[in-house]
Symmetry: C2
Subunit: 229 residues, 2 copies
């Protein structure tokens, strides 16, 4: 009788196998990787710009940007003087592990402390593709509305921190903070939560401290303790 290979969930998908390879590279080099996800226009690039400005003297940072078209975002971050690579996804709605793998040779990843990856603007598809990094972060924003945790539960469940951007315009919108936070709490209890305004700088110090603390902790404990993200 022929031998059979049982296909179980425990067998990693092709994408996850490449994610593991990426992760091994990061951990050998001591690079802490963050995958930033959001709706279109929530403020991913503005947040990254402010974060890089705050941290670039203190640690070595590089940036990978996933976009369907244009290099608007990558050009903006490259102007800050850090290695920045644009992955044109060719119409794909998410980054995957192979795209990240293909970008690594261009950013001298072995000389980094922090790699920030900006995913495609999309609250659905990016949750299904691990990249090999250490933490997933979501940027929500006030104008999107307070019901988004309820409508996009997979995204809100799969992240390690949430920023709520555009706090400077909260009075112009009917945004019930308690309703939003309850939705987050049900899906992801105890999650790190940062109300910010990338425009005014409000709340950015707490977020920047979180990044610094995370990078320091990673340098101490190494990659073994982190889920594959």
């Amino acid at each position: 009788m022929a031998k059979t290979v049982p296909v179980r969930e425990a067998i990693l998908s092709a994408n996850d196998q490449i994610a593991v390879l990426n992760r091994t590279k990061f951990d050998e080099a001591g690079v802490f990787g963050v995958n930033l996800m959001a709706s279109p226009g929530a403020g991913k690039t503005s947040l990254i710009s402010a974060t890089v400005e705050a941290l670039k003297g203190q640690m070595r940072i590089a940036y990978i940007d996933g976009d369907i078209a244009t290099t608007i975002d990558a050009d903006r971050i490259a102007a800050l003087g850090i290695p920045a690579v644009q992955i044109n996804t060719g119409g794909q709605c998410h980054l995957d592990a192979v795209m990240v793998q293909s970008a690594l040779p261009q950013i001298s990843y072995t000389d980094l402390d922090l790699l920030i990856i900006e995913n495609v603007g999309n609250l659905v598809c990016p949750t299904s593709f691990r990249l090999g990094i250490h933490k997933n972060v979501l940027i929500a924003s006030i104008p999107e509305g307070d019901d988004k945790p309820y409508k996009y539960p997979a995204m809100y469940q799969g992240v390690d921190a949430i920023l709520l951007n555009k706090m400077d315009v909260i009075s112009a919108f009917d945004f019930k903070m308690d309703y939003f936070k309850s939705g987050v709490e049900i899906l992801n209890p105890g999650l790190s939560f940062f109300p910010v305004s990338c425009k005014t700088g409000e709340g950015m110090d707490r977020w920047v401290d979180w990044v610094k603390t995370e990078v320091s902790a990673y340098k101490k404990i190494g990659g073994g303790e982190y889920d594959l993200r």
Copy 2:
């Protein structure tokens, strides 16, 4: 020698074949179908709510809502007293023709003038799946930013009208209207464009007139003149 079937682009995909079946049903019944797409939180449901309020005495309307989770949107529209069906996409990032096909028996589609379909909040994936309707409409919004036509060209190219919502808060954002409109014009010259605020009602009359004119024109000329959307 065996006969071969050349696989060409002209051969319709499975999805498009079902879209044709949907379209045939709509055209036999005289139902004008609109597919509404947008980022999460741009205001799809608010727009539909206001549109239904304005038109429900004048024509027979039904609503199909594609959402990943929850019936928040469908419940809100059903409360207006029109047939409303929720398609739970089971995590899928877009509606497809089969999902619409499966919803039709629940809305007595043969007794309608206008069917409004609210797609999943996503600027990428819905563009790749025809549903069988007559017009695609996009709702952009001020807080998303003025660069979105450049970043999501397939979406902006594939629509027959664009609304720009949340005009009431434009002064709170650095939104360059000329830059936005230039991007739209390059991709989709002469497109119908409606700056609106679903909150204040600003600009809604022009949009509602557009819908009325489109439905009237369709009733006169029939479905043969319309591209498959």
